[in-house]
Amino acid sequence: MINPIENLNKLFDSRIRLGIMSALMVNAEVSFNDLKELLDITDGNLASHLKTLEENSIIKVQKGFIGRKTNTTYLITKTGEKAFKAHLEALEKMIRSTK
Protein backbone atom coordinates (compact mmCIF):
# COMPACT_ATOMS: atom_id res chain seq x y z
CA MET A 1 0.00 0.00 0.00
CA ILE A 2 1.30 3.45 -0.85
CA ASN A 3 1.62 5.87 1.96
CA PRO A 4 -0.87 8.70 1.41
CA ILE A 5 1.22 11.13 3.45
CA GLU A 6 3.68 11.24 0.56
CA ASN A 7 1.09 13.06 -1.49
CA LEU A 8 0.50 15.74 1.10
CA ASN A 9 2.15 18.92 -0.01
CA LYS A 10 4.58 20.31 2.57
CA LEU A 11 3.75 23.80 1.33
CA PHE A 12 0.24 23.47 2.71
CA ASP A 13 1.33 22.28 6.11
CA SER A 14 0.47 25.54 7.82
CA ARG A 15 -3.07 26.51 8.69
CA ILE A 16 -2.46 30.02 7.38
CA ARG A 17 -1.31 28.85 3.95
CA LEU A 18 -4.25 26.46 3.87
CA GLY A 19 -6.54 29.44 4.59
CA ILE A 20 -4.94 31.56 1.87
CA MET A 21 -5.34 28.76 -0.67
CA SER A 22 -8.97 28.13 0.32
CA ALA A 23 -9.86 31.80 -0.17
CA LEU A 24 -8.08 31.96 -3.53
CA MET A 25 -9.77 28.81 -4.77
CA VAL A 26 -13.28 30.23 -4.44
CA ASN A 27 -12.58 33.88 -5.33
CA ALA A 28 -11.15 35.21 -8.59
CA GLU A 29 -8.82 37.42 -6.54
CA VAL A 30 -8.49 38.42 -2.90
CA SER A 31 -6.87 41.58 -1.55
CA PHE A 32 -4.14 41.60 1.08
CA ASN A 33 -6.47 43.31 3.54
CA ASP A 34 -9.28 40.82 3.05
CA LEU A 35 -6.84 37.94 3.61
CA LYS A 36 -5.56 39.64 6.73
CA GLU A 37 -9.09 40.02 8.11
CA LEU A 38 -10.05 36.49 7.15
CA LEU A 39 -7.06 34.88 8.82
CA ASP A 40 -6.75 37.39 11.65
CA ILE A 41 -2.95 37.68 11.52
CA THR A 42 -0.35 40.44 11.34
CA ASP A 43 0.87 42.07 8.12
CA GLY A 44 4.36 40.61 8.45
CA ASN A 45 3.17 37.10 9.15
CA LEU A 46 0.78 37.14 6.18
CA ALA A 47 3.38 38.68 3.88
CA SER A 48 5.93 35.96 4.63
CA HIS A 49 3.45 33.18 3.89
CA LEU A 50 2.37 34.89 0.67
CA LYS A 51 6.01 35.23 -0.32
CA THR A 52 6.61 31.51 0.11
CA LEU A 53 3.59 30.63 -2.00
CA GLU A 54 4.58 33.15 -4.63
CA GLU A 55 8.14 31.83 -4.84
CA ASN A 56 6.74 28.37 -5.51
CA SER A 57 4.53 29.76 -8.32
CA ILE A 58 1.45 28.72 -6.39
CA ILE A 59 -0.01 32.24 -6.40
CA LYS A 60 0.41 35.43 -8.43
CA VAL A 61 0.56 39.01 -7.17
CA GLN A 62 -1.30 41.81 -8.85
CA LYS A 63 -0.60 45.37 -7.89
CA GLY A 64 -3.27 47.90 -8.67
CA PHE A 65 -4.68 51.16 -7.39
CA ILE A 66 -7.94 52.19 -5.83
CA GLY A 67 -7.79 55.94 -6.26
CA ARG A 68 -4.31 56.73 -5.00
CA LYS A 69 -4.04 53.88 -2.55
CA THR A 70 -2.21 50.78 -3.65
CA ASN A 71 -4.34 47.68 -3.72
CA THR A 72 -2.47 44.40 -3.83
CA THR A 73 -4.50 41.37 -4.76
CA TYR A 74 -3.54 37.73 -5.05
CA LEU A 75 -4.74 35.04 -7.38
CA ILE A 76 -4.07 31.35 -7.73
CA THR A 77 -1.97 30.00 -10.62
CA LYS A 78 -2.76 26.90 -12.68
CA THR A 79 0.08 25.13 -10.89
CA GLY A 80 -1.32 26.26 -7.57
CA GLU A 81 -4.78 25.00 -8.36
CA LYS A 82 -3.42 21.60 -9.37
CA ALA A 83 -1.23 21.36 -6.29
CA PHE A 84 -4.06 22.31 -3.97
CA LYS A 85 -6.49 19.85 -5.54
CA ALA A 86 -3.90 17.09 -5.20
CA HIS A 87 -3.45 18.07 -1.57
CA LEU A 88 -7.22 17.89 -0.98
CA GLU A 89 -7.34 14.42 -2.53
CA ALA A 90 -4.47 13.30 -0.36
CA LEU A 91 -6.30 14.59 2.73
CA GLU A 92 -9.41 12.68 1.70
CA LYS A 93 -7.38 9.50 1.23
CA MET A 94 -5.87 9.93 4.66
CA ILE A 95 -9.31 10.03 6.20
CA ARG A 96 -10.53 6.99 4.31
CA SER A 97 -7.33 4.95 4.70
CA THR A 98 -7.78 3.78 8.28
CA LYS A 99 -11.47 2.94 7.95
Binding site: L18, M25, D34, L38, D40, E92, M94, I95
Partner: protein
Protein backbone atom coordinates in the same frame (compact mmCIF):
# COMPACT_ATOMS: atom_id res chain seq x y z
CA UNK B 1 -4.26 13.96 17.37
CA UNK B 2 -3.92 11.14 14.86
CA UNK B 3 -3.04 11.84 11.25
CA UNK B 4 -6.57 11.00 10.29
CA UNK B 5 -8.04 13.49 12.72
CA UNK B 6 -5.51 16.05 11.56
CA UNK B 7 -6.63 15.60 7.94
CA UNK B 8 -10.26 15.92 8.91
CA UNK B 9 -9.55 19.10 10.86
CA UNK B 10 -7.62 20.46 7.86
CA UNK B 11 -10.53 19.78 5.51
CA UNK B 12 -12.96 21.43 7.92
CA UNK B 13 -10.68 24.44 8.14
CA UNK B 14 -10.51 24.64 4.33
CA UNK B 15 -14.30 24.50 4.06
CA UNK B 16 -14.70 27.22 6.68
CA UNK B 17 -12.17 29.50 4.99
CA UNK B 18 -13.80 28.98 1.59
CA UNK B 19 -17.19 29.92 3.00
CA UNK B 20 -15.98 32.86 5.03
CA UNK B 21 -14.08 34.37 2.12
CA UNK B 22 -16.82 34.04 -0.47
CA UNK B 23 -20.13 34.31 1.38
CA UNK B 24 -21.69 36.65 3.89
CA UNK B 25 -22.53 34.14 6.60
CA UNK B 26 -23.26 36.35 9.61
CA UNK B 27 -26.93 36.57 8.71
CA UNK B 28 -28.80 35.53 11.86
CA UNK B 29 -31.99 33.48 11.91
CA UNK B 30 -33.29 35.85 14.56
CA UNK B 31 -33.08 38.64 11.95
CA UNK B 32 -35.66 36.74 9.91
CA UNK B 33 -37.90 36.25 12.94
CA UNK B 34 -37.64 39.95 13.83
CA UNK B 35 -38.35 41.17 10.29
CA UNK B 36 -41.28 38.76 9.96
CA UNK B 37 -42.75 39.92 13.26
CA UNK B 38 -42.50 43.56 12.14
CA UNK B 39 -44.27 42.64 8.89
CA UNK B 40 -47.13 40.91 10.74
CA UNK B 41 -47.58 43.82 13.18
CA UNK B 42 -47.49 46.25 10.25
CA UNK B 43 -50.09 44.17 8.40
CA UNK B 44 -52.36 44.11 11.47
CA UNK B 45 -52.12 47.89 11.82
CA UNK B 46 -52.71 48.42 8.09
CA UNK B 47 -55.66 45.99 7.85
CA UNK B 48 -58.52 48.42 8.71
CA UNK B 49 -57.14 51.00 6.28
CA UNK B 50 -56.72 48.54 3.45
CA UNK B 51 -60.25 47.21 3.80
CA UNK B 52 -61.96 50.57 4.23
CA UNK B 53 -62.81 50.30 7.93
CA UNK B 54 -60.82 53.45 8.57
CA UNK B 55 -60.22 56.49 6.39
CA UNK B 56 -57.03 56.00 4.41
CA UNK B 57 -56.11 59.71 4.51
CA UNK B 58 -54.55 61.41 7.49
CA UNK B 59 -56.33 64.63 6.57
CA UNK B 60 -59.39 63.66 4.56
CA UNK B 61 -60.01 67.02 2.86
CA UNK B 62 -56.46 67.56 1.64
CA UNK B 63 -56.16 63.88 0.75
CA UNK B 64 -59.20 63.79 -1.51
CA UNK B 65 -58.30 67.10 -3.12
CA UNK B 66 -54.83 65.84 -4.02
CA UNK B 67 -56.22 62.50 -5.18
CA UNK B 68 -58.72 64.22 -7.45
CA UNK B 69 -55.97 66.45 -8.82
CA UNK B 70 -53.92 63.31 -9.51
CA UNK B 71 -50.97 64.61 -7.53
CA UNK B 72 -48.24 62.26 -6.28
CA UNK B 73 -48.16 64.18 -3.01
CA UNK B 74 -51.28 62.24 -2.11
CA UNK B 75 -49.02 59.39 -1.01
CA UNK B 76 -47.64 61.22 2.03
CA UNK B 77 -51.21 62.04 3.15
CA UNK B 78 -52.07 58.36 3.28
CA UNK B 79 -51.77 56.36 6.50
CA UNK B 80 -50.70 53.34 4.50
CA UNK B 81 -47.58 55.06 3.26
CA UNK B 82 -46.44 55.85 6.79
CA UNK B 83 -47.36 52.41 8.12
CA UNK B 84 -45.39 50.82 5.27
CA UNK B 85 -42.40 53.12 5.76
CA UNK B 86 -42.38 52.53 9.52
CA UNK B 87 -42.78 48.75 9.13
CA UNK B 88 -39.96 48.57 6.59
CA UNK B 89 -37.58 50.64 8.75
CA UNK B 90 -38.40 48.63 11.88
CA UNK B 91 -37.84 45.37 9.98
CA UNK B 92 -34.49 46.47 8.54
CA UNK B 93 -33.22 47.89 11.83
CA UNK B 94 -34.23 44.86 13.92
CA UNK B 95 -32.81 42.47 11.30
CA UNK B 96 -29.56 44.42 11.33
CA UNK B 97 -29.27 44.29 15.12
CA UNK B 98 -29.40 40.47 15.34
CA UNK B 99 -26.98 40.04 12.45
CA UNK B 100 -24.64 42.56 14.08
CA UNK B 101 -24.76 40.57 17.33
CA UNK B 102 -24.02 37.33 15.47
CA UNK B 103 -21.06 38.81 13.61
CA UNK B 104 -19.63 40.12 16.91
CA UNK B 105 -20.06 36.74 18.57
CA UNK B 106 -18.35 34.90 15.70
CA UNK B 107 -15.73 37.60 15.34
CA UNK B 108 -16.35 38.13 11.62
CA UNK B 109 -16.27 41.74 10.40
CA UNK B 110 -19.77 42.85 9.36
CA UNK B 111 -18.75 45.10 6.51
CA UNK B 112 -16.34 43.73 3.93
CA UNK B 113 -16.04 42.32 0.44
CA UNK B 114 -18.64 39.60 1.06
CA UNK B 115 -21.21 42.03 2.53
CA UNK B 116 -20.67 44.41 -0.39
CA UNK B 117 -21.11 41.63 -2.93
CA UNK B 118 -24.32 40.48 -1.24
CA UNK B 119 -25.72 44.03 -1.10
CA UNK B 120 -25.13 44.66 -4.80
CA UNK B 121 -26.71 41.39 -5.87
CA UNK B 122 -29.75 41.90 -3.66
CA UNK B 123 -30.11 45.53 -4.73
CA UNK B 124 -30.32 44.77 -8.46
CA UNK B 125 -33.65 42.88 -8.44
CA UNK B 126 -35.04 45.03 -5.61
CA UNK B 127 -34.38 48.39 -7.27
CA UNK B 128 -35.75 47.25 -10.61
CA UNK B 129 -38.70 45.72 -8.76
CA UNK B 130 -39.29 48.99 -6.91
CA UNK B 131 -39.43 50.92 -10.17
CA UNK B 132 -41.86 48.38 -11.55
CA UNK B 133 -44.09 48.71 -8.47
CA UNK B 134 -44.18 52.50 -8.87
CA UNK B 135 -45.36 51.98 -12.43
CA UNK B 136 -48.06 49.55 -11.23
CA UNK B 137 -49.34 52.13 -8.74
CA UNK B 138 -49.34 54.84 -11.42
CA UNK B 139 -51.35 52.70 -13.80
CA UNK B 140 -53.65 51.69 -10.93
CA UNK B 141 -52.91 47.95 -11.15
CA UNK B 142 -53.25 47.67 -7.39
CA UNK B 143 -54.04 43.96 -7.47
CA UNK B 144 -50.61 43.18 -8.96
CA UNK B 145 -48.61 45.02 -6.29
CA UNK B 146 -48.49 42.14 -3.79
CA UNK B 147 -47.60 39.37 -6.28
CA UNK B 148 -45.08 41.63 -8.04
CA UNK B 149 -43.33 42.54 -4.79
CA UNK B 150 -43.23 38.87 -3.78
CA UNK B 151 -41.77 37.91 -7.18
CA UNK B 152 -38.97 40.49 -7.09
CA UNK B 153 -38.20 39.77 -3.45
CA UNK B 154 -38.19 36.03 -4.12
CA UNK B 155 -35.80 36.45 -7.05
CA UNK B 156 -33.59 38.71 -4.91
CA UNK B 157 -33.40 35.97 -2.27
CA UNK B 158 -32.58 33.22 -4.78
CA UNK B 159 -29.83 35.47 -6.10
CA UNK B 160 -28.66 36.31 -2.57
CA UNK B 161 -28.24 32.63 -1.69
CA UNK B 162 -25.15 32.49 -3.89
CA UNK B 163 -23.50 35.23 -1.86
CA UNK B 164 -24.79 34.34 1.59
CA UNK B 165 -26.38 31.35 3.33
CA UNK B 166 -27.47 28.75 0.81
CA UNK B 167 -30.81 28.24 2.62
CA UNK B 168 -31.98 31.72 1.56
CA UNK B 169 -32.79 30.01 -1.72
CA UNK B 170 -35.68 28.12 -0.08
CA UNK B 171 -37.08 31.29 1.45
CA UNK B 172 -36.94 32.74 -2.08
CA UNK B 173 -38.73 29.72 -3.56
CA UNK B 174 -41.43 30.14 -0.91
CA UNK B 175 -42.02 33.78 -1.89
CA UNK B 176 -42.14 32.86 -5.59
CA UNK B 177 -44.67 30.06 -5.04
CA UNK B 178 -46.86 32.42 -2.99
CA UNK B 179 -46.64 35.03 -5.76
CA UNK B 180 -47.74 32.55 -8.42
CA UNK B 181 -50.70 31.40 -6.29
CA UNK B 182 -51.55 35.05 -5.62
CA UNK B 183 -51.81 35.63 -9.40
CA UNK B 184 -54.78 33.22 -9.33
CA UNK B 185 -56.40 35.13 -6.47
CA UNK B 186 -55.94 38.78 -7.34
CA UNK B 187 -57.54 40.94 -4.66
CA UNK B 188 -56.27 38.84 -1.76
CA UNK B 189 -52.75 40.22 -2.12
CA UNK B 190 -52.81 41.65 1.38
CA UNK B 191 -52.99 38.14 2.89
CA UNK B 192 -50.33 36.73 0.56
CA UNK B 193 -48.13 39.66 1.39
CA UNK B 194 -48.57 39.04 5.13
CA UNK B 195 -47.80 35.32 4.71
CA UNK B 196 -44.75 35.98 2.50
CA UNK B 197 -43.10 38.81 4.39
CA UNK B 198 -44.42 37.79 7.80
CA UNK B 199 -44.94 34.07 8.25
CA UNK B 200 -42.27 32.79 5.84
CA UNK B 201 -39.60 35.02 7.42
CA UNK B 202 -40.49 33.76 10.88
CA UNK B 203 -40.51 30.11 9.78
CA UNK B 204 -37.21 30.47 7.91
CA UNK B 205 -35.59 32.39 10.77
CA UNK B 206 -36.69 29.85 13.38
CA UNK B 207 -35.38 26.92 11.34
CA UNK B 208 -32.06 28.67 10.75
CA UNK B 209 -31.70 29.57 14.39
CA UNK B 210 -32.43 26.02 15.50
CA UNK B 211 -30.04 24.63 12.88
CA UNK B 212 -27.04 26.89 13.36
CA UNK B 213 -27.26 29.19 16.34
CA UNK B 214 -29.06 27.49 19.21
CA UNK B 215 -26.01 25.56 20.32
CA UNK B 216 -23.73 28.57 20.32
CA UNK B 217 -25.86 30.86 22.41
Amino acid sequence: MSEQQQSLADLQHIKKMMERSSRFISLSGLSGVAAGTCALVGAAVAYPYVYGRKDIFINADTGYQLAMAGSYRVIVYSWLFWIAAFTFSAAVISAFIFTYIKSKKENIPLWGTTAKRLMINVAIPLIVGGLFLVKLIQSNDIGLIAPASLIFYGLALVNASKYSLNELRYLGYGQLILAVINLKFIGYGFYFWAIGFGVLHIVYGTIMWLKYERHNS
